[in-house]
Structures are given as C-alpha cells and as structure tokens.
Symmetry: C2
Subunit: 223 residues, 2 copies
C-alpha cells in the first residue's frame, strides 16, 4: 500500500477491515487515502479475504489501474540499461528481477512472449513495489528487434557459454537479455545478440537462480 | 534425484510409481539405484503423493540421511569464503542462497538461530541439489565468535549503510554475514563485524532481495 501510494499509479479505491488503522503506520495509510479524496469501504474479514489472494492479507486492499507503456514512449537516455526477459516462468523470480532492475537503474523491462504475466499478483508482491514504477512492456521478438535497431541499442545475453563478465566493460547504452529458468535464451532471440556474457562459477554447480544471475550481471554491467 | 545420487549423501531407499522409468532419464535413475543395491518400492500415485510434499511430485521419492557437520571438522583452506546467515526467514531465499554460495565457492554456510531450518523441504528444493554438498551448520553467536577467532577469519557484514563493495578488495579468508529480510544483521552479530559493505543502488529502491544481494556480494568478494 505504501509503495502504491508513493508511486505514480492512480489509485481508484480501497477496502479495509474495521480493525484496520490501529497502528500508526496503518493510520497514516488511511489518512493518505482520505487526503486524496479516495473512496474507502469498510468490509468484514471474510470479504477482505475474498478480495485478496494472499493467505494472510494485511487488512487492506486497494484498486489501481495497471499502467500501459508503449515502446515508443519509453525514455531514451544517453546512458541506459534495458532488461529483456525471454520466457521467465516463475512469478517469484520475475518479481525479484523487476525489483533488482529498479535497484540497478534499468529504464524498462521488456517481457517477451512466454514470460509469465507481469501483473500476476505474485509477481507484483515479489517486486516489493517496483512494479508500480518500472515500465513493464510485453512485446514480440520482431518488436524487440525494431526497438533495438531504431535506437541503436546493442543486445547482450546472459549465457553460461559466454565470456566472463567484466566490470565497466559495457557500452553506455545496453540491453541485456536473460532467459528461461531451464532453457536459457532461445535460439530466435540469440540471433539478435551481439555478445554473450557468463558469470564464472564453481564447476559442480549447474547454474544460478535467474534472479541472482540477473542481479550480478546488471551490477557488473552498470552504466 | 540426480543431484542426490551425484552427491556424497548416503541414499537409504526410494519409492516410485509404477509408470516411473518411461523416459531415458528416469530409466537411468532407476538403473543407478539398482546398481547401488538400493531397495526401491513401487507404490500407487496416492501413496507417492502422501510421501511427497510438493504439489506435483516427479514420480519418485528417495530417503537419505541429513548430513551433520560440526564446526571443528569444517575444511580450513588458505583462501576461503564462509557465509553466515543471521535469521533468514524465507525458505525459498535460503535455498537460493545455498545454491548461490555453492556456485561462488563458499566452504560452508553457517546458520545462526532464527534462520529457517536448513532441511525444510522448500529450502532443499530451492537449493537445486546444493544442500546435498554444501556443509550447512546451525550455530549460536558465541559459537560463531569462537570459530572466527580460533581460525583468524575476519567477518564482514552486508549492510545498506556500509561502504560500497569493491571487487578484489577482500582478504584471502573472509566470512560474510547477511541478515534478516526485514531487519538486516542484528546488533549482537554486528559487534563481531570488522567491516560493513553495501551494494550501491537507485535511491528509490529500499533494498534488494537477500538472495540477490548475497549473490552480488559473494561475486564481488570472491577469493
């Protein structure tokens, strides 16, 4: 709720239990909603539970419009990072990746077909509020290709067979693609890639979790 | 199953469904169990489901003894990394951290009180087999203190208020402590710490997921 209220998203209303507002933090959230002239509805615990899909809802649920970002409207900074996701399937991984991308100054997250719905509720929760601020754009491989070539942004791929990633080795503008938890970056997307980078690791371990790998690569390749 | 069979753990037996063994990969697993003289029992789908705690069991369940490692028996390499966990609560995070530690060449994972059970089944699954090879040692703060001082291993902490982490800045032998998802490293443990290191990030983001942060720090501080 706090992350939503701090974000640019438009909140349309909220439901909360009658007991909500007992702590200072909860009182502040209700006061902020009231100051915005927001309609809030007091509901029973059972009604709140039916409106929420978590096992332990926090006593309040808000409604906001999912933002839609088009590729052409995305900012075009001189130094920038774009993160491309090729069929990331686990919602917890995707949310953690969005949170990590926000922390690492990524301009937008571009989600290719086969990636779990970016507005899946588990994705939103795992992103810890980053989904409310980070532009998330579903797109096709053809749209990705046009976007990169129109803007002159090179594409690098996370790939175990690539060269070891070097700090400060990346160009001012760069898109990084990370692939599916099992299969990695698809052959179709690999055709758009200029360079493949790997995270050197102990040979007994097959791979890193995709969110951890994305974090290390985005950190090493910062602009 | 494959990770377990590849590990040093002693397998005591296995249950599988009658349909298991249809694929080449499954056939190989059964052949390996047979070659080890292992007792395997064919059970019904319902029986297998009751022996497994995943929603979609993979048709086979094995029994192995949880390894017990004592602090004094841990290897004592001249160059080494030890990872200390201070009250990590989410099983998925813990499993991912163990997997990451294995990839980054950590010698042992030391789990302080308040950390979720290292043999929780969700931890084991998230570790992708790393739990079968990485020494996992539950311990108290006093035991940690003795371990570090007996061996002369300095302790650094992951802390948002620390100095920005630098690559190749760490001593040959180093223990890194990462803290609870919400509260970070506790004051009690912080008293044992020589240096606090942070991951520089966008100011709009409060924190990274603890597994992602651990991955970046272990990568930057490699021996």
């Amino acid at each position: 709720m706090e992350e939503l209220l701090d974000s640019p998203l438009r909140v349309h209303g909220a439901l909360h239990e009658s007991g909500y507002g007992g702590s200072e933090r909860e009182r502040q959230i209700l006061a902020r909603l009231q100051a915005m002239g927001m309609e809030t509805l007091v509901v029973s615990e059972a009604e709140l539970a039916s409106a929420s899909d978590t096992e332990q809802p926090q006593g309040i649920v808000a409604i906001a419009r999912m933002p839609e970002h088009s590729l052409v409207e995305l900012p075009d900074p001189e130094r920038g990072r774009w993160l491309v996701l090729d069929a990331i399937q686990d919602p917890g991984n995707l949310g953690t990746i969005i949170r990590t991308a926000a922390a690492m100054g990524v301009s937008a997250v571009l989600a290719l077909r086969g990636t779990v719905d970016v507005w899946n509720s588990k994705v939103v929760r795992s992103s810890m509020g980053a989904s409310f601020r980070m532009p998330l754009v579903p797109l096709t491989v053809a749209e990705l290709q046009s976007f990169l070539s129109d803007r002159g942004i090179p594409l690098w791929a996370a790939d175990a067979g690539g060269e070891p990633v070097q700090q400060k080795s990346a160009p001012r503008r760069l898109a990084l693609v990370v692939g599916n938890e099992g299969a990695g970056v698809s052959a179709e997307v690999m055709q758009l890639v200029q360079r493949r980078v790997a995270i050197p690791m102990d040979s007994a371990v097959e791979s890193l979790n995709v969110a951890v790998a994305t974090g290390i690569l985005l950190y090493m390749l910062q602009s």
